[in-house]
């Protein structure tokens, strides 16, 4: 497995389990560079001041929060440091709850937790206890300098730390116009249920679904890359002389003439005698 992105400990009560954090999902997105269409030069970004129109070096850049249109509060590195949560490197378990009491909307991004040598026993204990009680742990976590709420769940033998959204980040569906469940005819409901039954599967198999857009893009990129390479491979190393190419062409024409003659296609009719040099 790749190297850990973070190491710290899970804390609950008086128990401390030293752990490392690993990526659990990766995205398939292809990354592209922006190029100038004409000459394929890489596009560079420049930080330009909107007041004097000149490029600005990094050490002259500060962050500002626009609290009103055009009005900024400027914050310095010290200001950010003052409110940064302490980099405790810990997963502090606050409470335990049954998994289905948490709306799936809250889950954001999963990471794997792996115990270090000293933590193996306590790790297994926590995992089994969570499994048998059908509960997950809710914890406060600090990764780099940002604080998160997260759930610790047992999945396939591993403890998974899943970062969650804050309640304030979830948008309510209240503002949408959604019909209620009243006055739905039983007959239609029956048909809908039947449809669902016929389309139901025993297990969800994510492998069945492939990312077509991604695959097609890759196909295209491979083909292009292959197309660009071809001429180079076929190319004679030195500057070929026109005279040699003439021989190649004459031979090539001769071959296609034979091919045409052999095939059922009607033979070349207007062929004039060529005067070879």
């Amino acid at each position: 497995m790749a190297h850990a992105i973070w190491s710290g400990s899970i804390n609950f009560g008086l128990v401390t389990i030293p752990v490392k954090l690993f990526t659990a999902v990766k995205t398939d997105d292809l990354s592209f560079n922006m190029l100038h269409a004409k000459d394929e030069g890489r596009i560079k970004y420049e930080r330009v001041c909107s007041v004097d129109g000149k490029p600005v070096p990094w050490d002259e850049i500060v962050k500002g929060y626009e609290y009103e249109k055009g009005e900024y509060v400027v914050l310095t590195d010290e200001d950010f440091a003052a409110v940064n949560p302490e980099a405790t490197q810990s997963v502090d378990i606050v409470e335990f709850v049954e998994l289905d009491k948490i709306s799936p909307m809250f889950f954001d991004k999963p990471y794997y937790l792996e115990p270090t040598k000293q933590g193996r026993h306590a790790y297994a204990l926590l995992r089994e206890a969570l499994s048998t009680t059908n509960r997950v742990a809710i914890a406060r976590v600090v990764i780099r300098t940002k604080e998160y709420i997260a759930a610790v769940k047992p999945i396939d033998g591993a403890l998974v730390l899943e970062l969650m959204h804050w309640a304030s980040e979830i948008v309510s569906s209240n503002t949408l116009e959604i019909p209620g469940s009243e006055k739905l005819p039983e007959k239609e409901m029956q048909m809908a249920r039947m449809l669902i039954d016929t389309m139901s599967v025993e297990e969800f198999e994510p492998e069945k679904f492939s990312n077509n857009y991604h695959d097609q893009l890759l196909t295209m990129i491979e083909a292009r890359a292959a197309g660009k390479e071809l001429p180079k491979v076929k190319k004679a190393p030195a500057r070929a002389k026109v005279v040699n190419l003439m021989d190649v062409l004459a031979q090539s024409l001769e071959e296609s003439k034979k091919r045409r003659g052999a095939g059922a296609e009607k033979p070349a009719t207007r062929r004039r005698k060529t005067t070879a040099a």
């Binding site: 695959d215 196909t219 001429p231 002389k241 005279v243 296609s256 070349a268």
Partner: protein, 322 residues
Amino acid sequence: MPPPRVTRRVGSHTLSLSNLDKILWPDDGYTKGDLIDYYERVAPLALPHLKGRPLTLQRYPNGIAGETFFEKQIPRGVPDWVERVTVPTPGGSRAETTFVLCNDAATLILLANLATIVLHVWTSRVPALEEPEFVIFDLDPGEECTLRTLAAVAIAIRGLLGEIGLSALVKTTGGYGVHVVLPLQPGYSYDTVKVFAEIVARQAAQRLGDSATLQRTIAKRPRNAVYLDYVQVGLGKTIVAPYSVRARTGAPVSTPLHWSEVEAFGRRRTAGAPADEFAKYTIRTVPKRLEREGDLWGAKNWKKQRLEAATGKARRLWSQPG
């Protein structure tokens, strides 16, 4: 609110067109409806150049400022009546690819409804996919190359072909450059055509000196020269079809020209950029031009030629040690 759909009857097919008001060219305000109308109007002249040629679609579902994708594989949901051809595509991640064949106006409009702006076609047709129907020289001007220089290079290539008894046609690419093509009788292989194109391109570069380059690495090309691309020849390689729209501001169209028009560009006193001139041929202006001129690449001008005699002449005239 469901997006408005419109049904349109084209030939024997009824098409359901969607989002006709969607703006594809934000600077010009041209919509998907405008794109569809354009392709419908030019279909009679555009179709002979599309029929039977495997087609790669370049789609812009969110307009020319949004992301684009190239589709070789026929898009899902395209109705069964749309004709198609399946060819092996070794090297790609698909073993074979099923290409759309744009054989009728209904298909062309259907593709436009999928926000297909640019039509890239093979240079061969079913069933003879291994026999190119023309030789193509893609003349790509450098950043500082003028319209005058580009025209001079195109005319020089026509002149070279004339020396060996061949006649060529020309069109704008819709972008910066022009395509010069030489229609062929059937029966030539891609290998033959490739070598022939290389001989002509080398001879042209040798005669034209600084104004033309065969350098494939962009950074090494002189900025005021025309890059003579003769390698766009090969099985599966595509060119922008005549009358295809381009995804650029103004909605320019790849437009066949009279050689006299190219000659006029060569006499220009001002040193304008080619793209400025070619930007005049758009989805607004080209339908009218076509009513006046017809298809300059049509059957009347599309003289299919043989290479044997020309090769003999080229050998006599151009072969010199060096």
